[in-house]
């Protein structure tokens, strides 16, 4: 449910549940070490339209302001959350040991369900669904492997991969 203020309690609950057996996120005191050490924030700030600020993402999501995640306001492939390059530097420097990347990952997961993920991410997931691999095997590479004296890559059981993805419902997001 969304109040006039834009607070979404369901979203807030999801964020609070992100951490492995912990509610550490509650103890964020907005020191900004995450943003100060974020390589994307460092290069994104000069681009007026494309600000990426992990500190603001933590604050906004913690308060339940779903719209702070721009993609959730309906913008496809938005810089928040998709600007995160998953370097895990913010997690490392956070004095409260908040797993910021896990929060951003959850936000990304929600946008993929709404069809707002970047095409490259959806394409990779599709490839995994169809071939069991992010990069399917190709005849040219197989020949190169042979020339290099390498054994063939053992083919994965694609049926098993598809059964799992269907059981979880991830196939519907493709």
């Amino acid at each position: 449910m969304t109040l006039p203020l834009g607070i979404d309690f369901e979203f807030r609950k999801l964020i609070m549940d992100v951490h492995v057996s912990s509610d550490k996120i509650k103890y964020c005191y907005q020191c900004s070490r995450c943003t100060d050490n974020c390589p994307v924030a460092a290069v994104a700030n000069p681009f007026y339209e494309n600000i990426f600020d992990p500190r603001l993402i933590v604050l906004g999501t913690l308060l339940g302001y779903k719209d702070v995640v721009m993609a959730l306001a309906g913008k496809k492939s938005a810089i928040v959350p998709w600007g995160c390059t998953v370097c895990d530097t913010c997690d490392t420097v956070c004095p409260q040991a908040i797993e910021v990347t896990e929060i951003i990952t959850l936000a990304k997961n929600i946008t993929t369900g709404a069809g707002l993920a970047p095409d490259s991410v959806v394409a990779q997931a599709k490839s995994v669904f169809e071939s069991g691999k992010a990069i399917p095997s190709q005849p040219a590479i197989e020949r190169r492997r042979e020339q290099l004296g390498l054994p063939s890559v053992v083919a994965p059981d694609v049926n098993e991969v598809q059964t799992l993805l269907k059981a979880i419902g991830a196939d519907k997001k493709l």
Binding site: P118, A125, A134, I135, A155
Partner: protein
Amino acid sequence: MTEYKMFEGCVIGNRIPFIEAASRKVLDKIGVQTSQAPFACCPDPTGVKSFDNTAWLALGARNLCLAEAEGKDIISLCNGCTNTLRGVQHQLKHDSNKKEAINKELAKIGKEYKGSIDVKHFVDVLLSNLDAIKGAITKQMGDLKVACHPGCHYMRPVEWMDSDDPLRPKNLKEIVAVSGANVVDYEELALCCGNAVAGPFPEHGDAILKQKYDSIKKAGANCIVVNCPACFQRLDGEQRNLSKKFETEYNIPILYITELLALAMGVSSEEIGLKNHRTRRNTAIENL
């Protein structure tokens, strides 16, 4: 003798197999045995995990089940695969609800995740075999001035990648030093290559990579050594693009750590397909 299950990963196995060739040669020479298994995609900790964390857990756990069935640890040649497989283990170990839910799905394909095996990054395996590496080296590597780039997912997050200092990594430098090559320190050692952001936002990815190259150039390195195929492709493949874009010359050859070691151990560049690199080799590497 321990035998590991080889997890070569999608990028190395199906796109840049010459890195697997060098890695297998080095592992052979230091007496590390491996065998294959029908692993699927790990899956990617920056791609599939961002797409759906539950799908990531389920597919990762399925791969772990394959190694568990043989009671063997996994050796991974890739930062991303290691990070995923260890990350999946971390989430399932610390969250019994998740473990129960994932095992309910795995039961549909006749599998159960137990958490009985370990996942090793190949750099950690190399590190525990330094004496064997030293003994196998036959060449002088003195002309190489190496800037190391271990890559984010080798050492972060520390919660499940606890093998090195997360912001001042030293393991890769130690192995390069053992090879006889010179290690060059540079300011942006722990900086990301920008691979994941470069997909949807190439401007940002290029700006990050430029900082990395500039710092490496300033330090006077004539070679960059990496231990991640995603970083390899990005550092090796983007120099021409960045040279043009920022009107600066970036032309430093990239070697996978196992390529460096294979060359130091007297393996020829033809045997390990070094010609498949995008960035041209310089005299420091030609002279080996």
